[in-house]
Symmetry: C2
Subunit: 292 residues, 2 copies
Amino acid sequence: MRWPEGFIAVDWGTTNRRAYRIDGDGRCGDEFEDDRGVLSVPTGDFGGAVAEIRARLGDRPLLLAGMVGSNRGWIEAPYVPCPAGVDEIAGALVWADEQAAIVPGVCDPRRADVMRGEEVQLLGAIADGSVSPGSLVCHPGTHNKWVEVADGRIATFRTIMTGELFNLLREHSILSDLLAEPAGPGDAFDAGVRDGLAHDVQAQLFSIRSRILLDQARREDAPSYTSGLLIGGDVRIGLEPAAAATQIVIMGRPELTRLYASAIAIAGREPVELDGERCFLAGIRQIAERIQ
Amino acid sequence: MRWPEGFIAVDWGTTNRRAYRIDGDGRCGDEFEDDRGVLSVPTGDFGGAVAEIRARLGDRPLLLAGMVGSNRGWIEAPYVPCPAGVDEIAGALVWADEQAAIVPGVCDPRRADVMRGEEVQLLGAIADGSVSPGSLVCHPGTHNKWVEVADGRIATFRTIMTGELFNLLREHSILSDLLAEPAGPGDAFDAGVRDGLAHDVQAQLFSIRSRILLDQARREDAPSYTSGLLIGGDVRIGLEPAAAATQIVIMGRPELTRLYASAIAIAGREPVELDGERCFLAGIRQIAERIQ
């Protein structure tokens, strides 16, 4: 362990970042979140963006995960291929300077898929025993990941861009005026899940509007129904390898894991929900401990 | 036939309109297209938008089809339920004034689906014998329609918003930078079609980007591959009732019917392509002849 006095861990995504001061005893002493995601940082100015973090949390070494290691980030950290565990990932850190290491993402060349950021949460949950061997892990977000875990490592995974599809439909499509209100759990969401589990989502989208035009659905149900439809389709695809899975785990932000949990329950499985932030902190400590 | 001296036919959509002067002998004597779609006309000002048409094509009665009959149009013309033929549709014209009739759309209450505008093309092709009984008709566009024809009428149909999905991905998604160039036929399109015929499109979209990141696909192939993927998924869904169909017909703009024709051929059927404009003119004449 190179950093006995502690360090700063950052989960640095495309549009947001969350930074944590990890003290020498492993506890999180302070934290903040802001909208200084990778896309908001001018090219070549990651030094300035990093200085802001140290100004708030102290002058400590940095361990950075997420899109900060992409080709739009500070320095590109090449993907580690599956199967990838904490040793492979900690062994492939890329040092932006002597006091700042970047966690690489993981790729699955067989499935032509990539992740950046989710791997830290996964490794944390594997390390603390929340994800048993043979688990299928769902990590909802803009780009939902379905991850098969074997031998304590990320064995294979696939990405379904469900959150992004929902945002596209809500903000820019012919359905926009129907989707302005927030989506949430309930009967309309469950009805959407059932349709998404049974049918191809591409075939169902137009009916969101036409059912309202024909008085077969209520306008106010459209946001939750649509959310359920997309998540139902996502879960149908994601659960394909579920028969062989010992356990279904959902990891991420609680408001999202709750929606996915109810969709997976409708599909007939009993998932376990994990808080993504807690998993991130567990995972980033695992990586930090391996820095020599 | 109330209009022996001829009339003006307008295919008036959401973003464009196309107007034709139909002379007493049934021929199209003059025409124009512009971007004065329904959404560009201020509420309550359809009189002005109609006067522009007469200023260009002559002071004749008008027969208007498409979104001009929707709740965003001039006067709402309620949907005629399936099964709907030319008699049902001509019998449900709505008169905006004494010299302007609006063609109603068609709805399929069983499937909760609606169309406005495509019905005129369909009726024209049925009337001139291009669409035989028992045909399955594909009408690609922003919102592709798959229509089953029986007894000379529109029996049932479904809408798949493939064109809109492609536009959303191209203009607003994480794939935008990959999709800026035009899509077209060829090997990349065909590869996309095969993937769309075999897999759920929702499951495949993210791989468009990740395959390029992992050097498994060429960046310049992304637009045509994506177009093929979405059209392949559309064709997989649309051809579900194809086993019982005597013939597969594709009707619409030639650059789109060509793409759908090659996708349907990859799916193992031999489609017939029809020019949508010619079908529209045949259909609108059929309706006009029934005006007493």
